[in-house]
Symmetry: C2
Subunit: 152 residues, 2 copies
């Protein structure tokens, strides 16, 4: 069941995957973010997926508050517009693309993300205290405030 | 079929999802990155997933070069150790957790990522040319060198 798969995991990564971890989900978000897709037919053309899957994903995004469903000028047609919650998945899409560019793109990146200034955009992990860019492996997981007290 | 779902998409994000987009995949990587899990039984205890699913994910990670399968001192037992390719998924896991912390953690983050220095770790999107942190929505997709020439 959508959004219920990882219910045993008290973890924001698992919760996030409960919302955008289904097949095609993040590519729908990608198209909304970077191709400006809003219409069912645009997503369908770009992704080539079955109508029922696309429909189920878009409806779920609306329920989860990632998209708003708005009527268009054409009666009976709707557009799906990212909310702030949906737009904030941009770094996730960029980080994933970056990994794919590095490891799965032998002919070079099929697409590049460019900043308004023309420069290349990159996701980096930084420390908010020492301001350093953080090396992989120098990050530790600690219990946070949202962790329920142990049952025993 | 694993890794074949998005074959019509010439895109590093889609390729990445072909490798780590299956249910549970990224949580297995999370446990390897941040809990130091290497043994089948460790992943199984942490995730509570069916043996056949876990087994299929680990095998696939080995095939895709995200993990190495090594014999342990106990005959017949193996450990699964992240390669560099697998470890470099760290920013993806952090970016996703960050989004979940912001939007799906009403009681606060269940876990926090801490740098060696003790500070909080965060994923940010930056421009390599102007060095600025990049606002969401100021990034554009451009055709890259790995894009095949159009068929017509």
């Amino acid at each position: 069941v959508l959004g219920r798969t990882y219910d045993n995991q008290v973890c924001s990564c698992a919760r996030a995957l409960g919302v955008i971890g289904e097949r095609w989900s993040l590519l729908i978000i990608r198209d909304a973010l970077f191709l400006g897709a809003t219409r069912f037919s645009q997503f369908r053309r770009s992704l080539g997926i079955a109508r029922n899957i696309l429909s189920s994903r878009l409806d779920f995004f609306v329920v989860e508050g990632l998209m708003e469903r708005r009527p268009t000028a054409v009666s009976g047609y709707y557009e799906y517009v990212l909310t702030e919650k949906g737009r904030e998945l941009e770094p996730v899409v960029i980080a994933l693309t970056q990994w794919g560019d590095r490891w799965l793109a032998p002919d070079g990146p099929p697409f590049v993300y460019a900043h308004d200034c023309g420069g290349d955009v990159e996701t980096v992990t930084v420390c908010r205290t020492c301001s350093d860019e953080v090396d992989i492996g120098s990050v530790r997981l600690q219990i946070g405030p949202g962790q329920p007290a142990p049952a025993r």
